[in-house]
Symmetry: C2
Subunit: 593 residues, 2 copies
Amino acid sequence: MPIYNPPVKDTQFLLHDVLKITDMDVPGYDELEADFTDAILTEAGKLCRDVVQPLNVIGDTEGCTLENGVVRTPAGFKDAFEQVKEGGWTGLDMPEQYGGQNMPAVIGSAVGEYFSAANQAFTMYQGLTHGAASAILAHGSEQQKDTYLPKMVSCEWTGTMNLTEPHCGTDLGLMRTKAEPQADGSYKISGQKIFISAGEHDMADNIIHLVLAKIAGGPEGIKGVSLFIVPKVLVNDDGTLGARNGVACGNIEEKMGIHGNSTCVMNYDDATGYLIGDEHKGMRAMFTMMNEARLGVGMQGLAQSDVAYQNALEYAKDRLQGRDVTGTKNPDGPADPLIVHPDIRRSLMDQKSFAEGARAFILWGATLLDQAHRKGDKDADGLVSLLTPVIKGFLTDVGYDNTVKAQQVYGGHGYIEEWGMSQFTRDARIAQIYEGANGVQALDLVGRKLAQDGGKHVMAFFDLVKAQIGELKGQDAAFDQEFLEPLKAASKDLQAAGMYFMQNGMTNPNNALAGSYDFMHMFGQVCLGVMWTRMAWAAKQALDAGTSDTAFYETKIATGRYFMARQLPATALHLSRIQSGADTVMALDAANF
Amino acid sequence: MPIYNPPVKDTQFLLHDVLKITDMDVPGYDELEADFTDAILTEAGKLCRDVVQPLNVIGDTEGCTLENGVVRTPAGFKDAFEQVKEGGWTGLDMPEQYGGQNMPAVIGSAVGEYFSAANQAFTMYQGLTHGAASAILAHGSEQQKDTYLPKMVSCEWTGTMNLTEPHCGTDLGLMRTKAEPQADGSYKISGQKIFISAGEHDMADNIIHLVLAKIAGGPEGIKGVSLFIVPKVLVNDDGTLGARNGVACGNIEEKMGIHGNSTCVMNYDDATGYLIGDEHKGMRAMFTMMNEARLGVGMQGLAQSDVAYQNALEYAKDRLQGRDVTGTKNPDGPADPLIVHPDIRRSLMDQKSFAEGARAFILWGATLLDQAHRKGDKDADGLVSLLTPVIKGFLTDVGYDNTVKAQQVYGGHGYIEEWGMSQFTRDARIAQIYEGANGVQALDLVGRKLAQDGGKHVMAFFDLVKAQIGELKGQDAAFDQEFLEPLKAASKDLQAAGMYFMQNGMTNPNNALAGSYDFMHMFGQVCLGVMWTRMAWAAKQALDAGTSDTAFYETKIATGRYFMARQLPATALHLSRIQSGADTVMALDAANF
């Protein structure tokens, strides 16, 4: 059975040695002393390791079942969900006013990774609820907040997001679900939504569906879309549950993975719905959920990659096969462990250097979110908005590839379900698709985010890289050569790609769009390069200061060296593809493919 | 439901315009006129499209079942297998003496691709039989050939390969299965083998297991391994079936994919076995099967990639979502088809340029095999031996990645099983693992094949590339720039990598082995570059000669341009990784990971 060890030490290193959160001027960060965060992370880690993770394989094997309109979750999910609720984990970063603990996003993200790594399908029930609650928090009326948030923060009620319909996913302007205004101010919602994660299940008394629909007579396309609260069970004025609403799960999809989460076809038949925010402004509210969800999905890429890596590492240490060509390492055994072989190392180092870099990237992103939300820092808001598609697209792509690499370490045992490695790849696969397929993330990045506010945020990113190089340069020749030079080269590649888009995208936007996917990936590589430079510097400082934990910090630097030498140079390939332009991409008539 | 259209026209282009097989001096090739090969390919294609492919999803859904020792294949498999046998397809490239049609390998490969693309799990029953028959043909006694081959060529009896045991896959020296010599010259075989594809099923009267085992008292490790024929049902002297042998399927593995093939745990309990070839020389005989199997597995990478691409292409043309940013293409519809979007194009062109390049590579490899086997050409034999790990490792890695890309085109619909795209990725995944995991292929390439015969074969490969460039250069400036220059640069990268291994691998072999995986991939890229140069040149010649089918040939050149501009430059990244050496890869103590 697969194992999972929450990387508390690594998270602590990031929070305190690298990001130095208590030194940051963000409301709430002053309380986040190392002992305090260690207690939170350790406690969450235990729950994830001992309660949530053991249900991962069970969830995959049993899946969810639909019978007479009732969806049953896999054995043990309900009990575990109760424990998560009782521990107060569902409202960790929600306002105290609604029963939450008001922790910053950086703590929510750190803990969220552990839950996702332990059991992605299970954690999604909570994740969707969090997203729906955030949208109500940001756009709902006071009465809506008071009615729904306390129950959603505690996960007594869960939430969902209803966007996709059979004929439209990305292009929501084609939506057909209708909302008819009623005399009492509510609406009647009718239509079919598909791919609704956690759409129906047996772990909560009520499910609060956030549903996009069109009010008749509104503007055409995406400009005529509004967002509604549609509870599974109507809520009486006194907060008690009333009649069952006109919404039902019509089917559960058979999927490649995340079998423990019920992916539902939801049928709305004159269901009572309540408008959130303004009529026809539903996309704005939906994007509050979407942006949060996209960061969460990027984290899933990291999480599945890390748990798969942890298992591959164990196997590589245990499994005896072949001999080290440079000299036997296990003379008393019949063979050496897999980990002596250079190509196994290459694979493990790819996985390790990604997971640690991605974790830093996610937590850095969360500090930007906190700066935006807790201080109203518009620059931080713009930067995290720019980075969101990179976090979602890049981390889920490479995260998936790493689950495949981890599976490969097992040889034939990786392909049979018994060992659990196949599940990591099958579960990780969805993260590249949902909340906007990664091609759409690339389009969002290049088509929208790059030019946002006059390109201000991407310039700020480059300034940040430059400042970091400037600050650290000239203090240590080896560090300059191993970290700063590669980072500078990669950042220059990224800038050259941006320049190419500016110079060639005006005359033909396809010159930018045909390179968008490569751009998203090279952006991600540069971000990880920035993170590794910071981590290695922090490790060097700890060593210079005479830390006793030399193995930890030296390993950190060595892992960074690997990333800079073996992964970061990929930016040059991406740049060359981008600079080859759109001609070869667009050459064929559709009929000639 | 997924579709499959056998690419007969493309195969014909390769056989006759590019490889020009009837001009080659290989016994049997003179009969392969275009009309003749077209008839064969068309007939095979029909069977694959109409009979074999429709069972692909059924095989995935139903899987195989084991009850009271009997394995039942999915509904329809047995009937389809009968049709394949009746058509004579199982013995296509087997000797006439044993009931085959004695066709060259190039035809066997062309047809084999269609079968694998139509239904990989189904086709493996035949593929394993072919491999086992080849080993008997090469190493068996006349009596063994006469006893087994006629039935195996017709697939009345099927075959298997038994290598892996629970504790050893790659490192077969650790094997525990024992063979005890008997007075009558036979052996008693005892032990357990795992991951035995087609190990037990209901489609044949007998199953001929080829089993590696150790004869007591023989040399230690891999040098003490012998190969045995162990029939499921013993064969009487008159050729009729006798008693059931001491071999049974103990379990069927639950796998990520290829559910239609029974992957068995096989228990041998004093089973009667007959030695093939010499005692303790089993690996030599096994490698006859393995090498054939590795080429076949490389072909599976191409096959799954191509069928997934075909479906992604259909979906991209059908599915309406969003608008072309350069101007609406479908003004009467609610949106434009996906294929207008540059990033969808990028994905489709990646898939298309790979499939066509890989098909050329496979067929070229098959002509080398034919030269080796039919003419005794030692140079061709050495070259195909060098290329075998590249064909296996590179084509299955990129093939798999392309099934993931094809699935991605479907968005959320790619993740649910209903559309069949998940199956292509799940089935393609095994090809990276079995017959030697791809890391082992890279080790074989760099650790063994590069230096084989004093490095003669890799030098021959570089000479071949140089000669091709020299022959075509200076005739067309655009062709020089678009094809020959990139090919030259990529080939130079590959040579530089080889040079790095020579200069640094002597002092520390890890410097070579840590770059082996990148080397395998860059070698594959260069091979596809060679293929695309040849294909584009052939297309150009057809256009210059005034062909009426301009769309086909122009598309070929445009697809080649895409490959040269967008894929081939990956060699530079691989080279930079290789040249970074082993230090960062090997830096960590195993305990510090």
